[in-house]
């Protein structure tokens, strides 16, 4: 059902944890649907994501996409991180079963939510970043 890469990131998830006094924190999803993702960012003055951590309540795919998404944006600039889409995450994981595609959307949304939090805290505008939806399932209902 899952690719080896998904299983690897589920079994040995990268960047699990929290960042104290994070530059930005984003939480998306809801417990009702069975997945919540929270991403913590540590961003330096040059807009580089120095560190990233996550906590996820969810299935194997939700944990694997969180892990992969954090890997993909670590060390990147905000602009580069914005280019990471759910498709990028999925491709990096060698694909996801169709019913799990929403997990990758959740990962993309969690990054955006954390960046939005950073922008709001610092009173800056990040070009191309829209206010994230709290719940990616809103559209599905």
């Amino acid at each position: 059902m899952y690719s080896d890469k998904v299983m690897d990131h589920f079994t040995n998830p990268r960047n699990v944890g929290e960042i104290e006094n994070a530059s930005g924190v984003g939480t998306v999803g809801n417990a009702r649907c069975g997945d919540i993702m929270r991403i913590y960012l540590d961003i330096d003055d040059n807009h580089v994501i120095r560190d990233v951590k996550f906590k996820t309540f969810g299935c194997g795919a939700a944990i694997a996409t969180s892990s992969m998404a954090t890997e993909l944006i670590k060390g990147k600039t905000i602009e580069e991180a914005l280019e990471i889409t759910n498709k990028t995450v999925m491709e990096a994981l060698d694909g996801l079963p169709p019913v799990k595609i929403h997990c990758s959307l959740l990962a993309e949304e969690a990054i955006h939510a954390a960046l939005w939090d950073y922008a709001t805290k610092n009173n800056i505008v990040i070009e191309g970043l829209e206010k994230p939806k709290n719940d990616i399932h809103e559209d599905e209902r």
């Binding site: 699990v16 929290e18 417990a31 906590k55 996820t56 309540f57 969810g58 299935c59 194997g60 019913v99």
Partner: protein, 396 residues
């Protein structure tokens, strides 16, 4: 490997397989044919039907072989309702039935029939008063499962049978999980129709039966030849029927001793988990419960992750989480007993067999402890809970 998913399916016993094999080779004949070798197979099938019938106190001619539980459930509902269209259009069932019942009801609703879905208690029990007061003048059939497949709750089917008899309404029970485990006597319990499946009791997949009380008219679901007294067409599945018979003989001969042993493993499992893992609840009833079933909800985590991690430790189990059901909603049974979605997502079902050992159960609990704390350490829900907890402590 530790197999704890016996409610999903069971291993075919070697005696069962041995009994079946000749019917693929030397005894391959179609029992509907006229020649001598066929007649001998026909006799074997009759003998199997007698053995199986007597296991529920029924008569040979009241047992109709089907492809299993789903077909039996579909047939019971559609066959009865279609044959009684002029008499009534109302069915009573419960919110915790197997999908084979619930989806059949949905189809019947589309065809103009009306269905009452009874609530269940937090333990998963049907309320007899609610059931009785739901019976209408046009009620044709009551269908309540003998025991639930997810949480193991045993329903009061004898009492339900009495109510149905009193109101002159037919009573069907899905006994797929209960057959071979609980005492079932169709006459004593006033059961008019009963579904079973062989693969839940160490028989082969693809065979089961529907018991239909003599005199109860039922339209066929599968039309064609005159097999099964003209009620269920299709070439007689000789090998599987013989295997089913063998499985029944084995299951019933050791029923009490196995039930007792399996229940002792289950109780040990429950006691250890409750004692050693925090923020857990047992789903279903403690006293009115199948001996082989245990169902937990672990707070702050999701079931699929648990299953994958158990699998990586060679433990086979199942869950009622959305991710294992292919939809966004968790199990309808867990929601019906009143669990909030996030708790239902974190459920784990372990179903035991006589092949399991106490050592295996201990290994499972030890492994589970690690898995739960690992997943909780990753869970934002758990983090929030712990932080809130700390705050409240600090506020005091």
């Amino acid at each position: 490997m530790i197999y704890l998913d016996n409610a999903a399916t069971t291993k075919v016993k070697s005696e069962v397989l041995d009994a079946m094999l000749p019917y693929f080779t030397d005894k391959f004949y179609n029992p509907s044919s006229i020649y001598k070798p066929s007649r001998s197979v026909t006799e074997d099938i009759s003998e199997a039907r007698r053995v199986i019938a007597s296991s529920i106190g029924a008569r040979e001619e009241e047992i109709y072989f089907t492809s299993g539980g789903s077909e039996s459930d579909n047939w019971a509902l559609k066959g009865i309702l279609l044959s009684r269209k002029s008499k009534g259009k109302h069915i009573i069932t419960t919110k915790i039935e197997h999908h084979a019942i619930l989806e059949s009801c949905k189809l019947l609703e589309k065809e103009g029939f009306e269905v009452t879905y009874l609530n269940v208690s937090s333990e998963g029990l049907v309320d007899l008063e609610e059931l009785e007061s739901s019976i209408r003048s046009d009620t044709v059939l009551v269908s309540v499962m003998a025991a639930n497949n997810e949480i193991g709750t045993i329903e009061p089917i004898k009492e339900i049978g009495e109510i149905c008899k009193r109101h002159n309404v037919l009573f069907h029970t899905d006994a797929v999980q209960a057959y071979g485990v609980l005492d079932i006597d169709v006459n004593d319990m006033n059961i008019d129709l009963l579904s079973t499946s062989a693969h839940k009791i160490n028989g082969p997949k693809g065979i089961g039966f529907l018991y239909v009380r003599k005199g109860v008219m039922i339209s066929p679901l599968i039309n064609g030849g005159s097999q099964e007294r003209g009620k269920r067409a299709g070439t007689t599945n000789s090998a599987s029927i013989i295997g089913f018979k063998k499985a029944v003989e084995l299951k019933f001969s050791k029923r009490e001793e196995n039930n007792k042993y399996i229940a002792s493993l289950r109780d040990h499992l429950r006691e250890r988990v409750i004692k050693e893992i925090p923020y857990v609840r047992v789903n279903g009833s403690i006293s009115k419960r199948l001996p082989n079933n245990m169902n937990f909800s672990f707070q702050f985590i999701e079931g699929e992750g648990m299953l994958l991690k158990l699998d990586s430790k060679s433990i086979c189990a199942s869950s009622g989480s959305a991710c294992t059901s292919g939809s966004l909603d968790p199990s309808h049974v867990l929601l019906a007993i009143g669990l909030p979605h996030e708790i239902a997502h974190g459920s784990l079902r372990l179903t035991i067999s006589e092949d399991n050992t106490m050592e295996e159960i201990d290994y499972v609990v030890d492994t589970l402890k690690g898995i739960i704390s690992e997943l909780r350490s990753m869970s934002p829900l758990y983090a929030d809970f712990v932080n809130k907890d700390k705050e409240s402590v600090f506020n005091v």
